[in-house]
Amino acid sequence: MIEVRGLSKTFGATKAVDNLTFNVKPGMVTGFLGPNGAGKSTTMRMILGLDRPTAGTALIDGKPYGDLVQPLRTVGALLDAKWVHPNRSARAHLQWMAASNSLPKSRVDEVLHLVGLTEVAGKKAGGFSLGMSQRLGLAATLLGDPKVLLFDEPVNGLDPEGIVWIRKFMQRLAAEGRTVLVSSHLLSEMALTAEHLVVIGRGRLIADTTVSEFVSKSSESTVRVRSPQLDALRSALTSNGLTVREDGSDGQQALVVVDSSTDVVGGIAGSQGIVLHELASQRGSLEDAFMKLTGDDVQYHAEGVEDVMRGAL
């Protein structure tokens, strides 16, 4: 269980994290979602006691991180897979971490085996690919068999195989009853990995809800319908209080009914005896939904892109 209460962090004039309050519950993967620069990493660093909060607290099982005795036995965190000495072997890296929390030496080989790095354990970590570094980082988080796990953008830059592997790994950890917090800037990735979502933008809390609720609430659902009796259908729909848009995008005359379902639209058409050639529900993409929600909260808008397209360069 992670409890974040009124957490704030100010760098100079910038409010990186602004009065954040949320809980992360055990037994499921919680996605920590926000655009780049939203304050996800800073929040995680404060939870781990690495950054000092300007205000507020972050508690792990009721204690600040700094009060944990042998913290690796309670919390495993992978914030950056490259935080290893490049000239130190993977095994030595895990060995010093294990020693620092009085974990048995045998645990090092266990976690190396768990992430499939046994064969390269004696190699320098500096020569590892991103995927291997990520596995080493994962091994480090598992050293103390912790109840609470934090991952910062764990799938960034990984190939599809690595992404699936990490996703399954996190879901398995959550299924074992652990608390798992995973940050990402990709809603589509979180929709596949997480059950619960904490969404932030510009350091502020935007949503704290389940993934399915967040997706259905934030993405517009529409119904596309085609008929040889288009005019009759249009008047039938509008007289039932529905909003209708014309859509001829693929060369075929069609109507798009906003915020409705195929059940409703099909029912209205049937009651009027209107023939339908197509009846399909459409859902806005997760990216659209995410952008709609956090659009005002993205710190670094790519406004220049449009200028470039207009030929500014």
């Binding site: 690495l50 000092r52 965190a77 000239n87 010093w96 620092s100 929390n101």
Partner: protein, 264 residues
Amino acid sequence: MAVLNAERIKITSTRSPWWCTVIIIVLGLGLAAVIGLSAKASINSFNNQIADGKQPDFDPFLPQMSDAVGGVSGFGVLVLMILAALAVTSEYRFGVIRTTFQAIPNRASVLIAKAGLIGAFGAVLTFVLTFGAYAIAKATAGDEAGAALTLSGDDAWRSIYGVPIYAFLCVVLAVGVGTLLRQSAGAIALLLLWPLLIESLFNLFGSFGEKIMPFLPFLNANNFLGAPQGVEFHWGPWGSLVYFAVFVFVIFGAGLVVVNKRDA
């Protein structure tokens, strides 16, 4: 204990500390041989001139104990300081410091473990090397040129047992400076330039420099080691040691305060 164990594994699991140790041994013993041989050459030519019936226009070089161990207390300790500073700054460079503070939230204990461990290692190493340097210098200089190289008298002994004390304090200083600056180039430059250049610059400042020099930390450290400084100190060798130690622990203490205040 766990912290010490973790730091021990860290220090022994990369190559650079081993290379630094090799360099310290080679410099410490090599310079002793060079000093011994040049002392012998100097006294030989002095004696030859006298045998030729000429009055030599130079005094023969008769190395003192502090000269014989100069390779250890001078260059060796400088390399030791580089090793100690790197133990901190390389962690900052590669982000390992965050992994460290994640594993051990008590940041002060990490720095104390680093300083204690490298300091103790440096003390033992330099203690052995000073004896080695003394033996090599005496052997290469021969009986006549090495006449002053005897383990008798307070000053000679202090030149031997003072080096490990000095080495330990220098390691503590280097860990403190490394923590304050967080980057290798800056920390190493400061640690090398300070004793080698900055303190000797005060020679150029005339009477103002003369007033300041008895208060410069490394000149005090050398005073403790029995090396002639040409400076009027306000206290004896032991006073100088206390002065240097206070200076070291002020810097190290500042490192402890800062590392706890700032974001890792």
